[in-house]
């Protein structure tokens, strides 16, 4: 079947074969590899996207059930090559090691700051509970996001 999506503001169509996930469609049909495929069971958050403005794991969304949805992926976070505040702060803080978790963390953190511009460190930690960094680079990630929360980035 064919589904119609709005991806990062752009109308796209994709062919869906069966019960595969939105993540599969993004990566394999729409050539958007920013959302990563790791655990495929909602544990790691590396596939995080915003669907109709809601933070979800795209590996747990059935693509066929997405017809008409608006999806924001990591590819749509910077505008015209300008990093957003989260990307900028993470870049400055060196909050990237292997980089595999980074797209999901940027999406989850961007979603947090849209809802709460000045979250406490505990709130940041809880908002990122579903995003795992197996390099355990959380210290630098927290330093970057605390800077965004303080409005100094």
């Amino acid at each position: 079947m064919i589904i119609e999506l709005t991806i990062n503001g752009e109308a796209r169509t994709a062919t869906v074969a069966g019960s595969e996930s939105l993540l599969t469609t993004l990566r394999e049909e729409l050539a958007l590899p920013g959302a990563k495929n790791a655990c495929e069971q909602g544990e790691c958050g590396s596939c995080s996207v915003l669907m109709d403005g809601t933070l979800v794991c795209s590996c747990l969304v059935m693509a066929a059930d997405c017809d008409g949805a608006a999806v924001t992926t990591i590819e749509g976070i910077a505008s015209d090559g300008v990093l957003n505040a989260v990307q900028h702060a993470m870049h400055d803080a060196g909050a990237v090691q292997c980089g595999f978790c980074t797209p999901g963390i940027v999406i989850a953190a961007t979603n947090l700051f849209a809802e709460d511009p000045h979250p406490s460190p505990d709130t940041i930690r809880e908002a990122l509970a579903g995003n795992i960094c197996r390099c355990t680079g959380y210290g630098a990630i927290m330093r970057a996001l605390e800077q965004v929360a303080e409005g100094s980035s």
Binding site: V56, L60, A64, D65, A129
Partner: protein
């Protein structure tokens, strides 16, 4: 694969009647794990995300499509606490209380609260209308429910008299993103009646009836009564050993958890 995405409850029930073999899909957080790992390849799906009626929520009736994120900020303290321990923000934005019932996992974090309150489950079909049954008639065993193939879970219906205090706690191998080793709700009503429900310690949620009976007659229980309460809870659960824990640990922690929650209810 064929998918139908109804826009109303009537359309959804008509679709389920026409295709009783179709898989109901709400948040997808259980279904897609089966697709990704267990080779589930449904030939037909009824996608429920656009059915507004399932998202309705008034004081005594929670629509099956209400997400954990919404329940987290709801008026029921123990259910809100339980909701906050379900998966991650991403999972809570998608997963629903109806999905918890449909999956009927022994570890479902919303289920002990429904059990403690003696909530009813409302299901409906196009041909036979609506029927309502107590939670313990709906949940029949491990991942087994009384839902007929042409039916959908519509709502959870709460009792007229709600507890004065209630509390939820859960034990897992870490404090976030974890499937329960034991989860527990203790609720206490104005008349002193206490309900104790536990999950992950039996095929379905378990009510510790003898412990409830003991404590409901004692408004200010002594230390000895509290200890006996915990002992009875540990005796009444029916845990197994599996990859998450041993039966002995689950039995022990059931009593500890229930007592701790009872103390919170008595102090409130």
């Amino acid at each position: 694969m064929e998918i139908v995405r109804p826009q109303s409850l009537d359309e959804a029930l008509a679709a389920k009647s026409a295709m009783p073999d179709a898989l109901p899909l709400a948040g997808g957080t259980d279904v897609m794990v089966e697709v990704n790992f267990a080779g589930l390849r449904p030939s037909r799906v009824v996608g429920l995300r656009q059915v507004d009626e399932l998202e309705a929520w008034d004081e005594r009736r929670i629509g099956a499509g209400v997400t954990w994120t919404r329940l987290e900020s709801g008026p029921y303290p123990a259910l809100a606490q339980a909701a906050r321990t379900v998966g991650s923000p991403q999972i809570r934005n998608a997963g629903t209380i109806g999905g918890n019932l449909g999956t009927a996992s022994p570890a479902g974090d919303g289920l002990p609260w429904l059990a403690a309150l003696d909530a009813d489950i409302e299901v409906a079909s196009a041909n036979r209308g609506t029927r309502r049954m107590p939670w313990n008639e709906f949940i029949m065993g491990v991942k087994k429910t009384a839902l007929e193939p042409d039916e959908l879970i519509v709502a959870v219906v709460l009792p007229d008299t709600m507890p004065r205090t209630e509390a939820f706690a859960k034990i897992g191998i870490r404090s976030a993103m974890v499937i329960a080793t034991v989860n527990c709700v203790v609720a206490r009503w104005d008349d002193g009646r206490v309900a104790v429900a536990l999950g992950s310690v039996g095929p379905t949620p378990i009510r510790a009836r003898r412990a409830e009976e003991l404590i409901s007659s004692e408004p200010q229980p002594s230390e000895a009564t509290m200890a006996e309460f915990a002992r009875l809870v540990s005796e009444e659960v029916r845990p197994i050993s599996d990859h998450r824990s041993t039966a002995a640990y689950r039995r022990h922690s059931s009593g500890v958890l229930a007592r701790r929650l009872l103390e919170r209810c008595l102090a409130a």
